[in-house]
């Protein structure tokens, strides 16, 4: 019952947040300088052509009206059509003039859905790698607060957090891909193409996990009930894995919720560098090209994913530790 109420409340709040975010992005795009129409019709076009096209596209209406139109479409599941990409898939730019009000432009929904799985795969693999690296190091560091394990954890985390992701990407491409030919680098032609980008992303996420794990595990191990478990007859293994880790997991789960923003940012940059066909890549290109509908669609999707993951995070935290407020 409590869980049901929690879900209802949070989903309602989540919808509100998604709506507010979309409004912010929507307004921001239209307020900040940079006219998409100019980019579409080309720098040479005379002003009246620009105006004609803009009006036809509905870009000269008041923002509230534009937003209303957008929302109406959204409720029906229609995120609009791209300003730049025709359905056939080739991007329109400068020289080629493709009238976005006439021809059949790619549906934003399609664009997003076709790229979302790639991004999710990248994020998932990155998280997996990060956990594989962080858990052994973090747990060992947490259990031996004054030993070499703690120094190792501290060193690893300091090192990883100081390496700029794009620089690491370049260096790894240079070594693993070009010089040693171990892993493929750019684009996507099979599962192995996700490994290098995921690795770089994992190095970005791992330090926070290691740090939280060592600190919170260290704290939990000092708790009276852990000490008392010894005299009650529980084995050390059971104490650490069934009790200490459980209690230390809650701050970790909370951290994941907060770090999500950073993760999304990281995904964007990584996809750009590796030319990985995910949402991040699409975002960069769309923003530079002022492709409003696509940007809005991505912002909404990102926001929704963000809200969804935070709900899961809070739910998991509650399931682990029932004292958590939900």
């Amino acid at each position: 019952m409590l869980i049901l109420e929690f879900l209802v409340k949070r989903i309602a709040q989540g919808l509100l947040i998604v709506v507010i975010t979309s409004l912010i992005i929507f307004t921001l795009l239209r307020v900040v300088p940079g006219d998409p129409v100019r980019l579409i019709v080309g720098g040479m076009a005379p002003p009246d052509v620009v105006e004609k096209v803009a009006t036809k596209m509905g870009l000269r209406d008041p923002i509230i009206v534009q937003y209303g139109r957008y929302m109406r479409g959204l409720i029906q599941g229609d995120l609009g059509q791209s300003y730049l990409r025709p359905r056939s898939g080739m991007i329109a730019a400068g020289g080629q003039y493709v009238d976005p009000t006439k021809s059949d432009m790619a549906l934003v929904t399609d664009l997003i859905l076709e790229r979302l799985p790639f991004t999710l795969q990248l994020g998932g693999m990155a998280l997996l790698f990060a956990l594989l690296i962080s858990f052994p190091v973090g747990i060992a560091g947490g259990l031996h607060q004054h030993g070499w394990q703690n120094a190792l954890a501290f060193g690893t985390q300091s090192l990883f957090v100081s390496i700029p992701n794009f620089w690491l990407a370049i260096v790894l491409i240079l070594f693993l891909s070009i010089k040693l030919k171990l892993l493929p680098a750019l684009g996507y032609q099979g599962f192995s193409y996700v490994i290098l980008p995921a690795l770089v992303l994992a190095v970005e996420i791992a330090p926070f996990i290691i740090r939280t794990l060592t600190t919170s595990l260290g704290e939990v191990m000092q708790a009276p009930f852990i000490d008392e478990a010894r005299v009650r007859g529980l084995s050390r293994r059971r104490i650490v894995y069934s009790h200490a880790l459980r209690n230390a997991a809650v701050p970790l789960v909370n951290l994941l919720g907060i770090q999500l923003s950073t993760l999304i940012g990281g995904v964007l940059v990584i996809e750009y560098i590796f030319d990985y066909p995910g949402l991040g890549n699409l975002t960069v290109v769309s923003v530079v090209g002022r492709d409003f509908p696509v940007i809005q669609g991505i912002a909404i999707t990102t926001s929704a994913v963000f809200v969804f993951i935070n709900i899961i995070v809070d739910l998991v935290a509650y399931l682990i530790d029932p004292r958590v407020e939900i």
């Binding site: 947040i17 912010i24 900040v32 957090v161 390496i163 700029p164 794009f166 740090r211 923003s261 990102t302």
Partner: protein
């Protein structure tokens, strides 16, 4: 002898020097070798980036085409002592460009963190201490802000007009303040329930007085110590923005843009991208070492209190 003086005489005058907590944290951090290493490396880089460009005659932006692609000292076929770390594709000295890039990096990093701290903690303390209405509103705003990843905000705002240092700082600050607001708020909520607050209320003190004179000085220092780590984080963000073309615009050197440009020359002139990256990584490591040491010291001292 009156009762008062008897009692007073019984108390041993324990006039030991009791150092303030903050000084103890700094002392504890200084005791760690990691802090010392980070500190000295950082000072060295700071002095280098402040002084060297002023005293050297080498230019960071002038293109000297005949000097292009010179390798760092001893590391290639063509090198000279004039350019210790080599030159890039347009003949510009890499050492100089790295140091100037470092200047901007540090500037953006520090100013952003100061802004984030002031705005974030200010709002967070207020929300946590006053509670109810204010709390809900401010927390919802942080939620909304947090759901817009920095990158998207940056691309949207900076991707349109020519990014300048102030706008970069504003974008970074906008994405960073919610975290501090949250931390300050939960600290304030915890303080609000403490006994000494009740003691002060009974004496007649009002909310604002307690917040400013007693609660804030309690809450802010622990957060401030950890804020050092965020300087590094902001520097990375600045570099990422530069890499995407949204940072400080060329010809002014910035780490991100230098490394982005260097991708083409990776095979034959690897030093163009790698050396600035090393500068950045070393600077970041030194800051992170200091910050982590401070964090450890803070946890230790506060845990013991």
């Amino acid at each position: 002898m009156t009762a008062t003086t008897v009692i007073a005489a019984e108390l041993e005058p324990r006039l030991a020097r009791i150092r303030s907590v903050n000084r103890r944290i700094l002392a504890a951090a200084w005791g760690m070798w990691s802090f010392k290493i980070g500190f000295f490396v950082f000072i060295a880089l700071l002095l280098a980036s402040a002084i060297y460009p002023e005293v050297s005659s080498v230019s960071a932006t002038k293109m000297v085409v005949k000097d292009k692609f010179l390798a760092p000292v001893y590391l290639g076929d063509k090198w000279t002592w004039d350019h210790l770390l080599g030159t890039d594709q347009l003949g510009r000295d890499i050492l100089m460009r790295s140091l100037i890039g470092l200047r901007y990096s540090l500037l953006v990093g520090v100013v952003t963190v100061v802004l984030i701290f002031v705005i974030g903690c200010g709002l967070g303390l207020f929300a946590g201490f006053k509670g109810k209405w204010w709390d809900t509103i401010i927390m919802r705003i942080t939620d909304a802000q947090l759901s817009i990843p920095m990158i998207i905000l940056a691309i949207t705002i900076l991707g349109v007009s020519r990014p300048t240092v102030p706008t970069i700082i504003i974008v970074l600050a906008l994405s960073g303040w919610p975290l501090y607001a949250r931390v300050a708020r939960s600290a304030a909520v915890a303080e609000r329930g403490k006994e000494y607050v009740r003691g002060l209320r009974v004496l007649g003190a009002g909310d604002w007085r307690i917040l400013l004179l007693f609660t804030a000085p309690n809450i802010l220092p622990p957060i401030a110590f950890v804020a050092v780590l965020d300087v590094a984080r902001m520097m990375i963000f600045e570099a990422i923005l530069g890499f995407l073309g949204l940072g400080i615009q060329p010809p002014t050197p910035s780490f991100g843009s230098i490394i982005a440009d260097s991708r083409k020359y990776l095979l034959n002139a690897w030093w163009i991208g790698t050396i600035p990256g090393i500068f950045l990584a070393v600077a970041l490591t030194s800051i992170n070492l200091m910050g982590s040491a401070l964090e450890k010291a803070r946890n230790r001292i506060y845990g013991g209190l």
